[in-house]
Symmetry: C2
Subunit: 341 residues, 2 copies
């Protein structure tokens, strides 16, 4: 059994190629009406999921995503050595309350909207090293719980700016297992590049895309430099979630470094909704947005052999309402996971 | 080079014995006046640390703890492959804003008051596997930022119940490095046992100790069962932070399982303050409490050969003001790190 090895300054190569054993996504009504609606495992017409609060509804989204992923892999809770989970709510309560009944060792993560990449990267490293035989990465977000925590009470009906993004009501979960026990699993985790925090001084909480784009650019540049590869070596460079403003900004920032990602770049925030018809302004956001897109259309296409080499870059805006009210900037972070099929 | 291996159901043995290269703590005035005052690396008479908000003061505590630990190990930021950090504030802003200038790959963690054990455990596993040559684990808390977020504005002067604990103004940081490069480092990380979430239905936010004790008991029982050892095989079983109520409860719960930890058990929440003189009711709490106790008296005594085998169990109450206002219980989690000297 080999060990992970460092490649260049920031990239960790996973020599055993941990396997994606299964994946699942759960979404709300608006996400189900989006362009990839038919790909998700489960959708709810009632955004409350029948629960008595938005927070409990989000917990349930996450819980169901984990349970469906376990069923798809034909696994029991006791087969999983560790679960890595996080979300946007204060003290990560969607994860805690959603997963508390599972009886699986629990490691709470906070990476804002980069959480799917962060949990997937760490879970893969645990499996690579043998610290876990099988591990789960999961995250969620909910439009209603996020709106009232980060912005305004829903009843207030606050006006949204053109650069604002729509927090997705969605969750995604992935089960990772040791390659040696799962030789026929189609998708592998190839390498992980964890990002450094960037801060370009953006303070506009209605323009998260601009705050996160520099972090995505830095991590992508680190990865290309470490691996001596170029964008066209990959079928898809998938950021999540920069939306329209941040996505365009990332492409421009990369062009200034003489790297053109535009032929293979897409962003989960641009995929989850139809921006023309669904009135989401700059696109989707929230941990659950990139989680649902990765855990449904992307991994399904990889399983079918339609996509082979995918760079998944989760981007997070590391602010809180308190820091913004105190006049602070919005630092960003981006973590990259390289998946192959 | 060996790999980590699983021992029993929940314990991960670190076969290379990652080395503690350095550690540092920073504390406020009240903590400096406590029984271990002379052990901390730096203390501040002004609880604001000269910053314009309590949140910025907490960020600075964390930043300084990291910088002092780097200086003590004679390392530069660029020598560190990864930093694992977390705190109690919404969206973990003490960590983000305290560490954003370091330019070190950043992985935010949320384990409430178990964060020191969680970050130390994951950092050690990254070093063990070769995913990082050197990594830092760090956490903090601040009485004033925690009071206003979790309880009342300071100016309100809310009455405290006898079971309540006092959030420590403190931070602690540990640098972990590969044993093969640091043969003369005295303290090793021997094994890690990550905990499952427990929920005994406790709802009293002024009695966190009772909410966390079952989690500590479960993780300790897992560890003893996995390793086939008994309490007297260790010099110290150090929980953090159960305080008086939770600490007594843990000893009772263990006795019901026919395991007597009382001869070697102590709790960081009982060590950081003088409960007779400092009016802290059930003791100290907050991520920074166990971080400062571990990163000063305990690791110093291990370095001096006064302590050889220490079980460090971080305990976290995974609630938020929102979940408590919605009538939810307080789930607990506890992670165990076994250190040897």
């Amino acid at each position: 059994m080999e060990m992970p090895s460092r490649k260049g300054k920031y990239t960790i190569e996973l020599n055993t190629k941990p396997a994606v054993l299964s994946f699942a996504s759960t979404v709300g009504k608006k996400e189900h009406e989006g362009p990839y609606g038919r790909y998700y495992d489960k959708n709810y017409n009632d955004t409350s999921l029948g629960e008595s609060s938005w927070e409990k509804a989000e917990s349930r989204l996450q819980n169901e995503a984990v349970n469906i992923s376990l069923q798809k892999a034909n696994l029991k809770n006791s087969d999983i050595d560790c679960i890595f989970a996080g979300d946007l709510l204060n003290q990560c309560i969607s994860s805690t309350f959603g997963l508390k009944g599972l009886n699986i060792p629990f490691l709470g993560q906070y990476g804002a909207c980069s959480t799917m990449a962060q949990t997937l990267g760490i879970a893969s490293l645990f499996v690579e090293s043998g610290a876990a035989k099988k591990a789960i990465a999961v995250t969620s977000s909910h439009f209603c719980s996020a709106e009232r925590q980060f912005r305004y009470p829903l009843e207030y009906g606050g006006q949204r700016t053109p650069t604002s993004q729509w927090t997705a009501t969605a969750a995604g979960a992935i089960v990772i297992g040791a390659r040696s026990d799962n030789l026929d699993a189609k998708v592998s985790i190839n390498s992980v590049t964890f990002g450094r925090i960037t801060d370009y001084g953006v303070k506009d909480v209605n323009n998260m895309g601009a705050a996160m784009a520099p972090a995505a650019a830095q991590t992508l540049l680190d990865f290309f430099s470490d691996t001596k590869t170029v964008p066209l070596d990959y079928d898809l460079i998938l950021t999540g979630d920069l939306g329209k403003v941040g996505g365009d900004l990332l492409e421009e920032m990369m062009k200034e470094e003489k790297i053109d990602i535009s032929p293979v770049h897409n962003d989960c925030g641009l995929m989850i909704y139809d921006r023309e018809k669904q009135d989401v302004h700059a696109g989707g956001s929230g941990c659950g947005c990139s989680a649902a897109i990765l855990c449904s259309p992307i991994l399904q296409q990889m399983d079918l052999g339609q996509l082979h080499r995918v760079l998944f870059i989760g981007t997070g805006a590391l602010m809180s309402p308190t820091s913004s009210q105190q006049g602070e900037t919005i630092p960003g972070v981006a973590h990259l996971v390289y998946l192959t099929a």
